[in-house]
């Protein structure tokens, strides 16, 4: 007893025992303080070097050199306390974490920048209902708006969704349910077409539908082009969802004597419903912001056009594209107003996608579970009534 206390006392000041477990996600005071110290030290050093000693200018350069200094200082601090393996580990966990921070910062920056700049136009209450029909180059900012572009965008995206979603989901069902060797080239091509240059689908519809078939330049032509862009995105996303439907559910249906089409219709699709809805909404969010396909086949109208099948129609991205290139300041502000509307639309679609699904197939939301519980309680009561 006494001997063991002596031995632990002598061991404490030295290095920890060699077989102490490595704690992978441990947060220690030394770790946090080293990070903070490196960050503050790099900031100070950077200020002295960048702003005072060396003849550099520019905000971006300041932060780039801050980051380099920060990594260097942190490595140096780490090297003073830990062995080489841990230093390398710490270095990479910090460097990779900045990746996550960077992505967040960029997205927030873009969304916030558009919203802030767009607010100057949006605060005029009639901005969303007026069109550009009566707005000349000298019109003040409270004349003219995005009403026509908003209607155009909504009609075009709805038509494009109606065209691309059924075909996309059928194609996804082919990949997931029929599959086999023959499906492999289809999947490869779908993957390849997801990053088809967006201007190509516009050129295609121009060459095919407008110039060869004789469809007029219109909102409908634009939605055809959008559908070409959206089809592979829907297929790809829907296939991923269909793939995680448990095979046991399908086998249960087959064991009960179900044919394949009834299994797909009654088991697979209902199970994957929320995921499929998410896939569709995400594809809509991608399609709604496409400019290039629309640029070539929709024309550009300054006034309201409710009919997507006749005459030129403007959508929000197209509206922004033309307004921002105008030399008039009010037009540029209106472009940001259009950007405001577009970003809000994308964010709303995103929120809907997260709300609808995002969970695994078959995973129930709280409301669905409550409804099921109520239903089974009712059935239990009914059977009790019969037996009594």
């Amino acid at each position: 007893m006494a001997a063991s206390t002596v031995s632990t006392q002598t061991a404490t000041p030295g290095p920890p025992p060699a077989d102490a477990p490595l704690r992978l996600r441990a947060v220690t005071a030394e770790g946090t303080l080293s990070l903070a110290g490196a960050a503050v030290g790099a900031l100070a050093l950077d200020w002295v070097l960048y702003e005072r000693v060396l003849p550099f200018t520019g905000v971006l350069g300041f932060w780039v050199s801050w980051y380099v200094l920060f990594l260097a200082l942190y490595t140096a601090i780490a090297a003073l306390q830990w062995d080489l393996l841990s230093v390398r580990d710490k270095f990479f966990s910090v460097a990779l974490s900045t990746g996550g921070v960077l992505a967040t910062a960029i997205v927030i920056d873009q969304v916030a920048y558009t919203l802030v700049r767009g607010y100057a136009a949006v605060k005029h209450p009639r901005f969303f209902t007026q069109t550009m029909a009566n707005a000349g180059p000298l019109s003040p900012i409270d004349v003219g708006g995005v009403g026509h572009a908003l209607i155009g965008t909504l009609e075009q995206i709805l038509l494009a969704t109606l065209l691309s979603v059924p075909l996309g989901i059928l194609a996804a069902l082919y990949l997931a349910e029929v599959g086999g060797r023959a499906a492999r080239p289809v999947r490869t091509l779908v993957d390849a077409m997801t990053s088809l240059p967006d201007i190509i689908s516009g050129l295609f519809i121009l060459a095919f539908a407008v110039l060869t078939i004789g469809l007029p330049k219109s909102g409908f032509a634009a939605s055809l082009a959008l559908a070409v862009t959206m089809l592979p995105i829907v297929t790809r996303a829907a296939e991923t969802v269909l793939r995680i439907v448990p095979g046991t559910l399908r086998e249960a249906s087959y064991a009960l004597g179900g044919s394949q089409w009834r299994t797909v219709l009654m088991v697979v699709l209902p199970t994957a419903r929320s995921g499929l809805a998410t896939a569709v909404v995400l594809a809509m969010a991608r399609g709604i912001g496409e400019t290039a396909p629309v640029l070539l086949v929709a024309g550009f109208a300054r006034g309201m056009n409710w009919n997507p099948f006749r005459n030129w129609q403007t959508s929000l991205p197209l509206y922004i594209f033309y307004q921002i290139q105008s030399p008039v300041l009010a037009d540029k502000i209106r472009a940001f107003g259009g950007g405001f509307a577009l970003v809000i639309l994308v964010l709303v679609l995103f929120a809907v996608a997260r709300r609808v699904g995002g969970g695994a197939p078959g995973e129930l939301t709280r409301r669905q579970r409550r409804r099921l519980e109520k239903q089974s309680a009712r059935q239990r009561a009914a059977t009790k009534g019969i037996s009594a």
Partner: protein, 330 residues
């Protein structure tokens, strides 16, 4: 006697699909192969419409550094194609390390509660319209990056790529450059690289991860020896799909650059070009330029489509290889 027991041969089960199933599968198969039909139609109609321009310019289409679509017509891809590739290269140089870093962070380092929000964030980044990237690049990024540009031009000008032949003290000489367009395009490629490589990283087998830890690896040691080798094919495929996207990006590039016609490697200098942006800029002049002007644009589009289709298909094949390897491992 043992060998002649015929009743031990297993019965082969041949499931005869019902008529309904046959029709159902036929419909699914037709929808699946419609992707091939659409791709084929795109190729066919671009070739049909581009034929006139190719016949008119012949091989000079590859060597001409100008785009005059009104008569006397004179157009070619000798400068717009390499400029576009240069923009895509800059974008990839930034997007590959950043995309892999973000993917590794999400799949290996992020706290569990942060993973789903971050994945949603990357999805959102992919869905931010390219016109918004364009606005942001033109009016937010460009004024802020000019100082960094001039710093690069003055202090790293000895590197040929950063060499600056114009006056380094005039900010406008740095504006609308290949470099700025490349940075903005890189931000649009990052979500593609990230989401595809994250999917592969997160499928690295749990047993091997634990094996690495059991041998005393640190977290980075485990990532370097298990996750990265496992995900290599996926990362290569993701990179190629991202490259396809970068080559074809239209609107953001159109807003940022001013057209330049003499190809050069000096990426900081004002002026650049790309096939997609040329189509977008030149298209409004098409009714005046007549069918030859339009055919010229179709020819440029055909070159772009052929190039991206090859790059993307190779990328998709690499990814599907990595995926089929997974299927056998399961």
């Amino acid at each position: 006697m043992v060998a002649s027991a015929p009743e031990d041969i297993p019965r082969t089960i041949v499931a005869q699909p019902s008529t309904g199933d046959k029709i159902f599968r036929g419909i699914l198969r037709a929808s699946g192969w419609s992707v091939f039909v659409i791709t084929g139609l795109i190729l066919l109609f671009l070739i049909l419409r581009a034929a006139k321009a190719f016949r008119f310019m012949g091989l000079r289409f590859l060597t001409t550094s100008a785009w005059i679509s009104q008569s006397p017509q004179h157009f070619g891809i000798a400068s717009i194609l390499p400029f576009g590739i240069l923009i895509a290269l800059i974008a990839m140089i930034i997007a590959i390390p950043a995309g892999i870093a973000i993917a590794l962070y999400i799949s290996e380092y992020a706290p569990r509660g942060l993973k789903r929000p971050l994945v949603a964030l990357i999805d959102l980044m992919a869905a931010i319209p390219s016109i918004i990237f364009g606005l942001w690049g033109l009016l937010f990024l460009e004024p802020r990056i000019l100082g960094f540009d001039s710093w690069l031009g003055r202090h790293l000008g000895f590197i040929p790529v950063f060499n600056f032949r114009l006056s380094t003290s005039i900010a406008a000489n740095y504006a609308s450059s290949t470099f700025i367009a490349g940075i903005v395009v890189s931000l649009m490629v990052i979500p593609i690289v990230t989401s595809l490589s994250r999917q592969v990283f997160s499928q690295a087998p749990q047993g091997e991860r634990e094996g690495a830890y059991a041998l005393g690896a640190t977290r980075w040691g485990m990532v370097r020896t298990v996750v990265l080798p496992f995900g290599r094919a996926g990362v290569i495929g993701a990179t190629m799909l991202g490259l396809g996207r970068a080559l074809g990006e239209t609107i953001a590039v159109t807003l940022i650059i001013v057209p330049a016609w003499h190809f050069n490697f000096h990426v900081l200098e004002s002026g650049s070009n790309s096939i997609a942006s040329r189509i977008a800029i030149d298209f409004p002049s098409y009714p005046a330029a007549g069918s030859m002007g339009l055919s010229a644009l179709m020819a440029a589009g055909l070159v772009l489509f052929g190039m991206t289709l090859i790059v993307n298909t190779l990328g998709a094949i690499v990814i599907s290889r990595s995926r089929s390897g997974l299927a056998t491992a399961d």
